[in-house]
Amino acid sequence: MIPAPFDYVRPGELEDALKILSEREGDAKILSGGYSLLPLMKLRLAQPALLVDLRDITGLDAIVETDDDLRIGAKATHRRIHENETIARYPLLHDVSGGIGDPQVRNWGTIGGSVAHADPASDWPAALLAANARIVCRGQNGERIVEARDFFLDTFTTAIEPTEILTEIRFWRRPRGQGGAYTKLERRVGDFATAGVAAIIRLGDGGSIGFAGIGVTGVSDSPFAATDAEAALAGQRPSDDVFRAAGEAAAGMSRPVSDIRGPVDYKRAMVAELTVRSLRKAVERALAYS
């Protein structure tokens, strides 16, 4: 399969890339690892007139903790994130980065590419939603920070402007008493998630749930925050009964379609179960980090 013809540029500076995007507004696509975009171009579901390759732009792949944040550069590959020492203390991100695609995909695919691509069954968006992450979009006139919960608008559609480049993802620095987990169901290694659930739990005083974040992927037009499940968890003491109620709430918010990966009822049931499993792990990890 051969992509439709396109032009290709590989600027060395971010400013140059942004200038090109402005001049070719709507015509150009950003190329990072290519493992999401190129398959779509080969199927001719995407036919950009120009690819702007970020390969030679340095400084977009750092993984650093600040006083408040954990910041991950858009060009950090899934593999580098998974193997990073700091990320070892962020179990949700460690789970997600180790399970995307297969080893070759993780060698080249990047967090920024996955997030900007916004496949409705991709893994990173669920984690960003659960963690209330923020997405840095850079344009010629400076940076704009978009909340993950305002970012994923529809299938392959995000709040990023055609003249902007996603440069960084900001997670909140992990406080004591917080844990996260990601659980997904896939038919086989490398397949997109049939369903996937990311959970973050912060235990408050007395062991009740102070904060709960739940992100769900694979079962809607775009990944979503299961706010009903979060409401069912807030203030409760962790227990399987509470987790089941949250699972049912997350399943209730899912809008899966029946396809090769299973019928609607099955997918809803899987969302409920995966929610319970992610919550169990997240709480276990929160307790271990108290």
Binding site: M1, I2, P3, A4, P5, F6, D7, Y8, R10, L31, G34, Y35, L38, P39, M41, K42, L51, D53, R55, G101, D102, P103, Q104, V105, N107, W108, V189, G190
Partner: protein, 173 residues
């Protein structure tokens, strides 16, 4: 559509070509450079038959553009043999019957070489996870795993005995 001039190193040899931006790296290797050892299986980045190394990292060459490899060091299955001596992985696939039809073999060996480079003594589970992006339609995974285990042992032995012959190849893998 203008073509672009690219230069890259393939199996240690400097190469260049004028390519359309849409030319896939696997087509550059096979159709332009005549290196047909790299196979095209699914053409959708699922099967791993087209696995090669780009700057030391395993990659699916059906999901990379030739222009993305401009300036890169590329290694294919043709670059594994040292003169007439098979790479320990190639020999191990032979010894352990790690192939039936052989179609997945070049990609399987390149992925295994990358895996052993990252993790010289992988467990069976680590081997299976390491080749999880490579499909064998003959389902010959048991012998593929055995072959990788054999090669891991030999590469380790030769790494600890650097005076023996042929080990430069192993160390490079």
């Amino acid at each position: 559509m203008t073509t672009q001039h690219i230069t890259l190193t393939v199996n240690g040899e400097a190469r260049d070509a004028d390519v359309e931006p849409r030319l896939l790296l696997v087509h550059l290797l096979r159709d332009v450079f005549g290196l047909t050892g790299t196979h095209i299986g699914c053409d959708t980045s699922n099967c791993g038959a087209c696995t090669i190394h780009v700057n030391g990292q395993s990659a699916k060459s059906c999901t990379m553009l030739a222009v993305q490899a401009d300036g890169a060091e590329v290694r294919t299955i043709e670059g594994m043999v040292a003169g007439t001596e098979l790479h320990p992985l190639q020999q191990a696939f032979w010894d352990q019957h790690g192939l039936q039809c052989g179609f997945c073999t070049p990609g399987m060996i390149m992925q295994a070489a990358w895996l052993l480079d990252q993790n010289p003594q992988p467990s069976e589970a680590e081997i299976r996870a390491g080749i999880s992006g490579n499909l064998c339609r003959c389902t010959g995974y048991v012998n593929i795993v055995k072959a990788i285990q054999q090669a891991a042992g030999e590469l380790q032995a030769s790494a600890s005995a650097p005076a023996a012959a042929g080990e430069a190849v192993a160390a490079e893998a």
